[in-house]
């Protein structure tokens, strides 16, 4: 299996704090990889480096054969990395449909003058984009919510809309930052199935930050554990579960004795 994403010795320092400390990391094509670790372990920082929000202090990130280290977020999105956010960041004053359309930004073309004249080509493109957006909303179980304002959607729907919006960028790699946070057990179970469906139907590779062990154990092909910015374990869910350093990081030293 080839690796879709390779991170070599990636490091991020904020002043004197080393948030991510020389982490090596790979995501094989077509897999679902989970990134776990206690709060403050550097998971989201790592995420933000993959998506270009932060520039690594040192190290290199290669996505799909292209060096993306330090590239701006929109360029990385265009190469095929879609993401959701830990605390939902929808465009509140836009409808669900418009949110998805914004996600398509880098997949649509429009000249300034042609936009003003609204040439047949632009019209057709818009029509097709709206059709595709409606399909995506249906796929994410948001049927009938198209013209609802994002801020008026229920919590679960907002989470799903974030995924729909990320899918609209036509990603090869989908990054989910704590997607089941705040969901009840039923919603979580439904979401887990949804992620599996995503991989099979959309031919996606998924990296997710997650705290819910049930979710991680049931769908991950591989789990990477960060603690204090360092990678302390990596492997199949079952192996990681038994790893002493992981148990220590989560439960403290006494528990391992």
């Amino acid at each position: 299996m080839t690796d879709l994403l390779v991170a070599n010795d990636v490091r991020k320092e904020f002043g004197g704090l080393t948030a991510v400390n020389d982490v090596d990391f790979t995501i094989p094509q077509g897999s679902i990889v989970s990134l776990i670790g206690p709060n403050g372990a550097g998971k989201t920082t790592f995420f933000n480096m993959l998506t270009g929000v932060y520039k690594p202090t040192s190290g290199q990130i290669v996505f799909d054969g292209t060096d993306v280290t330090g590239k701006p977020p929109h360029a990385i999105t265009q190469l095929g990395v879609g993401r959701t956010f830990q605390n939902i960041r929808l465009f509140q004053q836009m409808t669900a449909l418009e949110n998805v359309l914004v996600g398509m930004h880098s997949r649509l073309a429009s000249g300034f003058i042609r936009t003003i004249l609204r040439t047949p080509k632009i019209r057709r493109q818009e029509r097709e984009a709206i059709e595709r957006a409606r399909e995506l909303l249906r796929f994410c179980s948001l049927r009938g919510r198209d013209d609802e304002w994002a801020r008026n959607l229920s919590y679960g729907d907002q989470r799903r809309l974030e995924v729909a919006r990320a899918l609209a960028t036509e990603p090869k790699l989908l990054l989910l930052d704590e997607p089941t946070a705040g969901m009840n057990p039923q919603e979580t179970a439904a979401f887990t199935d949804f992620v599996s469906k995503l991989r099979s139907e959309h031919d996606l590779t998924v990296l997710m930050i997650e705290h819910d062990m049930k979710v991680i154990m049931s769908i991950s092909d591989r789990v990477t554990v960060l603690d204090y910015g360092e990678k302390i374990a990596e492997g199949a869910p079952k192996e990681v579960q038994k790893d002493e350093r992981v148990i220590e990081a989560y439960l403290g030293r006494a528990a391992t004795a």
Binding site: V53, Q93, E98
Partner: protein, 399 residues
């Protein structure tokens, strides 16, 4: 097909009626004057020209502030850039050269650059858009308040530059505090006058104000058309996405710098065209016209009308510029108080405060804000944190 046409008329009849009324205004004015109460308050046609110019600027600024959410406190810089472009390209300012192209009412021997006014308008817009890009590239990396402060700086720099650039190593660029005048008249020349009946020369015409009025109205219509088309496009969505959440917009593939610069350039273009047109109407470009208060004044029009709303910017622009140009004085006379115009900015401030108190989303709110007012916002959580997870009275059916 008929159905669609019917729907279009239903949606568009209010704007169409307003446009029709606007075009008929100079003809209707003599009759409207006789109306009780409001008759005496109606603005003269010449005043309406200035009102429209300001409204154009409000619609242009609305692209920057309303759509893209970039607080620009230096819009007057674009206005000045447009006015001076007109002055350079259609006056005797550069006596060293003698270049005529399509200008009206001038002997070919008159020195200076004299381009056709229509070309000047377009060039003024383009040049000002370039100024906008030049200002935007270093500043648009900033967010929110920081951007506002820097634009405030540019809004001060450009008028100061204009005031002092009368001897750049001996070269007189702006003629300093005196400004540049006269500026050539708009007009279509004899050929078009004879064949199509278009006006020959605006400034020497007996119905000068009317000619300027109709042209201004056309320019405003173009501005509004472009503004609406952009709003409902991929670019417009990207602007609103940036306004809502820059980080999320970038993560969705919206290039922040390029998209913001487009907003700036678009706003600057209209500011430039408005500036050039106003300079022509006034007959010159004078540095005393470009003061900081004007930036705030135009921003007030946008806020009063409703941020992001094109129709709001028009309403706000016409209303405030009317008060400024003629309204306050006329109302004062009606009430028998002489000094009303002296308190102009105090009165505008009071109006803004009142509107913000009673109608915080503006006179004609943007669709997005309007829904917020009507529907309210769901902000009741499912669980009460302080009571450790007790259910609140929020009904899931509401969501």
């Amino acid at each position: 097909m008929l159905d669609r046409a019917g729907k279009w008329v239903r949606n568009a009849w209010v704007p169409l009626a307003v446009i029709a009324f606007a075009f008929l205004y100079p003809d209707l004015l003599p009759y409207l004057d006789d109306l009780p109460l409001i008759g005496t308050l109606l603005p003269a046609v010449g005043t309406v020209v200035i009102m429209i110019v300001f409204t154009m600027m409000a619609v242009g600024l609305n692209v920057v502030v309303g759509y893209a959410g970039l607080l620009d406190l230096g819009y007057v810089a674009f206005y000045a850039a447009g006015a001076y472009t007109a002055a350079w390209l259609a006056s005797q300012q550069f006596e060293q050269v003698n270049f005529h192209f399509g200008s009206v009412g001038l002997a070919p021997t008159v020195p200076g650059i004299h381009l056709s006014f229509w070309i000047v308008l377009l060039l003024a817009g383009c040049f000002t858009a370039l100024v906008g890009i030049a200002i935007g590239l270093p500043t648009l990396r900033l967010r929110g308040d920081y951007l506002a402060i820097v634009t405030l700086g540019f809004g001060e720099i450009i008028p100061q530059f204009v005031r002092n650039a009368d001897s750049i190593k001996g070269f007189d660029l702006t003629h300093g505090a005196f400004g540049i005048s006269p500026i050539d008249s708009p007009g279509f020349g004899e050929k078009l006058h004879d064949t199509l009946g278009l006006p020959l020369n605006y400034q020497q015409s007996s119905n000068r104000a009317e000619l300027y009025f109709y042209t201004a109205l056309l320019l405003l219509l173009i501005t509004v058309f472009v503004s609406v088309r952009l709003r409902d496009s991929r670019l417009g969505r990207a602007w609103i996405a940036i306004r809502e959440d820059e980080t999320a917009a970038a993560a969705m593939g919206v290039p922040l710098m390029r998209t913001k610069t487009w907003a700036y350039a678009t706003g600057a273009f209209f500011g430039g065209v408005a500036g050039a047109y106003y300079a022509s109407f006034k007959g010159g470009a004078f540095p005393s016209d470009f003061y900081f208060n004007l930036s705030v004044f135009i921003l007030c029009m946008v806020i009063l009308g409703g941020m992001g709303s094109v129709w709001g910017a028009i309403a706000g622009g016409l209303f405030l510029s009317y008060l400024d140009q003629e309204g306050l004085a006329k109302i004062g006379t009606e009430l028998g108080i002489q000094d009303v115009p002296k308190y102009n900015f105090g009165i505008y401030g009071l109006i803004i405060v009142l509107v913000m108190l009673f109608r915080p989303t503006g006179l004609i709110p943007e669709r997005r804000h309007k829904r917020e007012m009507e529907e309210g916002v769901h902000d009741t959580p499912f669980y009460d944190v302080q009571l450790e997870g007790a259910d609140t009275d929020r009904d899931p059916a509401d969501d």
